[in-house]
Symmetry: C2
């Protein structure tokens, strides 16, 4: 159930699966290493997060798990997320609606930020290396060692404009 099966139709698929699972593996390992023990709720939260392709709120995780007949308390979801965030394994994302969202922090991988449509609420991820280097440069220039950063752009999306 944990190790991916290597019977997929193409090599590329296999590699992608492995890379995606890699985060869940390492998150679980680091969490165990940090606190000695680990239980079902944490694993479920990690697996759920790993399956998402953009940020999700704690409530969404909780609801999603319960929808899959996995019995976890909200508190455990928050506790798991807190632990993961503290180890830098998940990134907190605040989109401006007062709800904190979370997403896996995959090293080097698909680090991205968010475009939010002020009209329909759609959330779209994007990547930009010029943006990243500008942030890094500024932070260093002010004597900061960057631990995390977060860019949110609000505006009218393509579909919501006349």
């Amino acid at each position: 159930m944990r190790a991916p099966r290597h019977r997929s139709t193409s090599l590329r698929t296999v590699i992608i699966i492995d890379m995606e699972r890699a985060w869940a593996e390492s998150a679980h390992a680091r969490l165990r290493e940090a606190s000695g023990r680990t239980g079902g709720a944490r694993r479920e939260v990690i697996e759920f997060l790993d399956a998402q392709h953009c940020c999700v709120s704690a409530q969404e995780i909780h609801d999603g798990l319960r929808a899959s007949d996995v019995r976890v308390g909200v508190a455990s979801v928050y506790r798991a997320l807190d632990g993961l965030a503290q180890l830098g394994l998940v990134q907190r994302v605040e989109l401006g609606d007062g709800v904190t969202r979370f997403e896996p922090a995959r090293p080097g991988g698909d680090h991205h930020h968010h475009l939010v449509c002020s009209d329909c609420g759609k959330v779209e991820p994007f990547e930009d290396s010029a943006l990243e280097s500008a942030i890094e440069r500024v932070a260093v220039g002010h004597g900061y060692a960057v631990a995390a950063h977060d860019v949110v752009v609000h505006g009218a999306c393509d579909d919501c404009r006349p």
Copy 2:
């Protein structure tokens, strides 16, 4: 009480005062225009915001006003902020601690973003034009008309590092 007195010691001082008041004036005007009427609470919130040089939370505004013997309810502070944000006159800022902060959106003026020390909690503003253009370019490339954007960098500040 509303119009600044032009008896300052130097011309430069007068100009600075006028520029700073300009936002409060226009905010008040646009608010009246949008809703026909305007009362004391809104004016107080606008004046208070204008006097800050970085973002403040709704509670801070409320407490700050009461400390100056101005009697306003928390609800009115939130309502005023909401109206101002909807007109694009204030910028919502989420620093990652679950509290929404607000600051005046002065057109062209001192548009900035925030560095937050993960250790001591210090908040420091910064400006960077390369960052701004990167954001604009990305948003346009995705078909978005930017209404607002927000960059938060978390890290250890100069003082909090070994």
